[in-house]
Subunit: 226 residues, 2 copies
């Protein structure tokens, strides 16, 4: 109760299974007394491209555009574009970040990847020697909640689903110092029965009820690759 | 000679190190007699977001938008948006796909991820039972060429750089039936000496000279995780 949650949501259709998972999270967490904010990326028409438009005013080096350097400098002088400042404020305030999306090509949809690329800039999320357990977004939790097209069995035949979590959980969240809770994966909701879909929704509600008692995973290669 | 190459390039600045790597590839491959096409994503202002705009005309199911289903149906009836049709044509004609980009968060920049999400639709790149070695883009090669922010040593301290190649090489290219050549990684060009940078550019030219004699990697978990 009193905890702040940011849900970054990347699906075009409110009636989708991802839309239902979002709705459940908002309702259940609000019921617990959490303050829930949603960044509905498609509805916001969130810009995924990392360009010069992200910097307000003159560039640090206008001869040769370097996105990493320019956003770092812009962050320090308060010169990032308004949409990024707003997202950073939401992240700063949150105790828990939930990413809700359909898996696209073993990863996030581009619109969500663009949120990572543009919001988590140097100076804000990490710094020269401040990364991983020293990252700037410590004391926050994250949870990747996603649906897949393929069944669990299909993923298991060619390696472990955990393999694809490495860049997202370790490469992004852990790098910024954010702790990572077990992912929540709903396999192939489009292809299972209505009953099974309802079970999956109930399981998400149930998990959220005890979420704050969970321990983060140990985000090392062993967890991913055994 | 006579081979067709598509380079999908994702950097904002022609003067960047990625820009130099692109220029080298275009020059060297052209010199070999290849026909080289470049998709310069930032210059094209390529759209990374997967939305209803990708489908021309009425939707298959306008009650509930499902991007995968809609683009599949649109592909079959020739109803995908013009920018996607153009990219698919380039892919179809190519013998080799080179992806040139700076690594962003253990993965591709969002603009390039959007290219994957939107161009490689069902029906075109894969189909119900046509994936991996049966994928629809067989007889093509791919090569991920990228720069990193961190040094090679930094990547090695927390696992192998190959871990992050799994979603891109296996999850996307292998899934579509495209064979994968060894990645080409330039570590931390921003932080090394001018001499070292020149060496890296020369190494790329040298590699391209014998590229067509290379054998694809064996794209199984063993290659990535030993």
């Amino acid at each position: 109760p009193g905890k702040k949650v940011l849900i970054v949501y990347a699906h075009q259709e409110p009636k989708s299974f991802n839309g239902s998972l979002l709705k459940i999270a908002v309702e259940e967490l609000t019921k617990q007394g959490c303050r829930v904010t949603v960044s509905d990326l498609y509805a916001m028409q969130f810009e995924p491209r990392a360009t010069r438009n992200d910097i307000v005013g003159p560039l640090h080096n206008s001869e040769e555009f370097n996105y990493g350097v320019e956003t770092w400098e812009a962050y320090k002088r308060g010169g990032l574009s308004k949409d990024l400042v707003e997202e950073q404020k939401k992240v700063q305030e949150a105790d828990l970040l939930i990413f809700q999306f359909p898996l696209f090509w073993f990863s996030m949809p581009a619109i969500l990847k663009g949120w990572m690329d543009r919001v988590l800039v140097q100076g804000f999320a990490y710094d020269l020697s401040k990364s991983y357990d020293g990252g700037l977004l410590q004391d926050k939790l994250s949870l990747f909640s996603f649906t897949t097209g393929g069944t669990k069995e299909k993923y298991a035949t060619r390696g472990d689903v955990r393999y694809l979590l490495w860049p997202m959980q370790h490469g992004i969240m852990h790098f910024c110092g954010v702790k990572v809770l077990e992912p929540h994966i709903c396999y192939a909701p489009e292809y299972v029965s209505e009953e099974k879909r309802k079970e999956m929704l109930t399981a998400w509600t149930q998990r959220l009820k005890t979420l704050w008692k969970e321990e983060p995973i140990n985000c090392t290669p062993e967890w991913y690759f055994k």
